[in-house]
């Protein structure tokens, strides 16, 4: 564990001493809960429809695929027409697009961001790299199969898929959500130990609590 994460006593500028425990002060290690669709069916259907028509994407580009998301914001493809918008903070986002290869170092940040998102949340794997490693199949430093680390709702294959493919992917994701099958957050909570074991297998310097929203 890094020095700055250890519990220690700090003297403030006015001589007052206080204890700092970064892992408890800055993180919460409560495990994730399964949030069942507890509403009447018709209400849940309404919410699912709203969720499908208002997809907020986390503005987090992990690999070269991030460059295919930019044209979606510009006049040529303009994904805003379909209710797709970008948010700069994981708290307000519903969809995490893993855009291309994912190095182990980035995986750590991806996990933190994913766990900060609010349920229900969705993950799209963009490009071949998220399916089987793609052209990085024998790399020492990237993960090969994304769904061993996060519950993936949809893959968009290609190297790289064009923005049109992304738009089609959004339409397919909408169908999944409307059918009530976008339960990735609950799958993650249910199989939490399995996902954590997989994540810890590749992340060597694990210096955060198991779950940190």
């Amino acid at each position: 564990m890094k020095d700055e994460l250890k519990k220690r006593i700090i003297t403030g500028p006015d001589g007052f001493e206080f204890e700092v425990d970064p892992l408890n002060d800055y993180y919460c290690d409560a495990p994730p809960k399964v949030h069942p669709p507890a509403y009447v069916k018709i209400v849940e259907d309404l919410f699912n429809w709203a969720r499908s028509e208002s997809i907020w994407i986390l503005g987090f580009g992990t690999g070269c695929g991030a460059i295919e998301m930019r044209p979606l914001m510009t006049p040529r493809f303009d994904a805003y027409r379909y209710g797709v918008q970008w948010r700069p903070t994981p708290r307000q986002s519903n969809l995490f697009i893993i855009s291309g290869y994912l190095s182990v170092k980035t995986l750590k940040r991806v996990i933190r961001s994913y766990e900060q998102m609010q349920s229900p949340k969705y993950v799209i794997g963009l490009g071949s790299c998220t399916i089987n490693g793609g052209m990085y199949w024998d790399s020492y430093n990237t993960i090969k199969k994304l769904d061993e680390y996060l519950p993936v709702d949809l893959y968009i294959a290609g190297c790289m898929p064009r923005p049109e493919a992304l738009l089609k992917g959004f339409e397919d994701l909408k169908k999944i959500i409307r059918a009530g099958e976008g339960e990735g957050a609950n799958i993650y909570a249910k199989n939490f130990d399995w996902y954590k074991a997989n994540q810890k297998k590749v992340i060597q310097d694990w210096d955060m609590p198991d779950y940190n929203w």
């Binding site: 949030h35 309404l46 208002s54 510009t74 805003y80 700069p88 307000q92 519903n94 957050a185």
Partner: protein, 300 residues
């Protein structure tokens, strides 16, 4: 004797304003998108976003003030709309206006910002803290010319009641404060630019720099509350500006049109000019807006 009928009437006003606000902000977003040669969000997108955010399954808290922040914010917007007369001469839509409502309105304009500062401060996110310190200094500076303009108007008409001020402006466009005291209106409109969260004064949110400032940690229903306020509050504020400076509105169509046009002032400025840093905007207010306010006071 309190007339109980006023309560459903005020709620009706609130209902109309919320729906108008949801549609108008979407329309404004579409206009902004057209400037960038896009089509932008559908006109009904705001409704769906609201339903979705209220319908999210999980939410977390950072403490007591974190809960209260959005509530204070919404109170600022709803309180503002409830205590100012919306339609001049209408028994139904004059809400809970009273003789000194101008002072209360000035207070409510600032109220939401303070609540938000407390709530976002508790979220503990560094971007929130940066956004708040920027926001408070900028809003405080923008408030100064507005206060001067309001004092000028109150002096000019010798009253603190918004209804009386609107009444004094009736009988032709040349009776508007816009023409009887142009300096006060100029100062107030500059302050208006500063409080609309649009460029050049959007350094508080600064989406590319401190994503997205104070509301960084807000999500689910908290965010939905703030979105609700975000459609109510600008309209309530513009309603006050309209009553003080632009002759008020005697019917809903006139109200819709005037609010839209006043809102468009900030949009026009916003799509043309780039962003000020905080010290630049404060200097701008001090050099241009405050002297205008002083002139407006001297004018009366």
């Amino acid at each position: 004797m309190f007339e109980w009928m006023k309560i459903p009437y005020a709620l009706l006003t609130l209902f109309i304003v919320v729906n108008y606000g949801l549609l108008m902000t979407a329309l404004i977003a579409k206009i902004g998108a057209r400037v960038g040669r896009r089509h932008g969000i559908p006109i009904y997108q705001n409704y769906i976003d609201l339903i979705k955010n209220y319908g999210l399954r999980s939410s977390i808290t950072h403490g007591f003030m974190f809960y209260l922040g959005p509530v204070f914010r919404l109170t600022g917007g709803v309180g503002l709309i409830l205590f100012v007369p919306i339609i001049y001469g209408s028994e139904v839509f004059s809400n809970f206006s009273f003789a000194g409502d101008l002072i209360l309105a000035l207070y409510f304009i600032f109220f939401g910002t303070l609540g938000m500062a407390l709530g976002a401060g508790e979220s503990g996110h560094p971007y929130a803290a940066i956004g708040i310190s920027r926001g408070l200094s900028q809003v405080t500076m923008a408030e100064l010319p507005l206060a001067m303009a309001v004092f000028a108007v109150a002096l000019q008409y010798q009253t603190l009641s918004i209804t009386d001020i609107v009444a004094a402006q009736q009988g032709g466009i040349l009776n508007w404060t816009l023409f009887t005291n142009p300096f006060a209106v100029a100062a107030a409109m500059m302050s208006f630019l500063g409080s609309m969260m649009r460029p050049p004064f959007d350094v508080v949110l600064a989406p590319q720099e401190i994503p997205i400032g104070p509301p960084t940690e807000y999500h689910s229903s908290y965010l939905a509350l703030m979105q609700t306020n975000r459609v109510i509050f600008p309209i309530a504020k513009i309603a006050i500006f309209m009553s003080l400076f632009f002759g008020g509105a005697a019917s809903w169509p006139v109200f819709f049109l005037k609010v839209f046009l006043i809102y468009m002032v900030s949009v026009f400025v916003g799509v043309v000019f780039p962003r000020f840093r905080v010290e630049q905007s404060i200097r701008w207010f001090l050099i241009w807006a405050v002297p205008m306010g002083v002139l407006g006071l001297v004018w009366v």
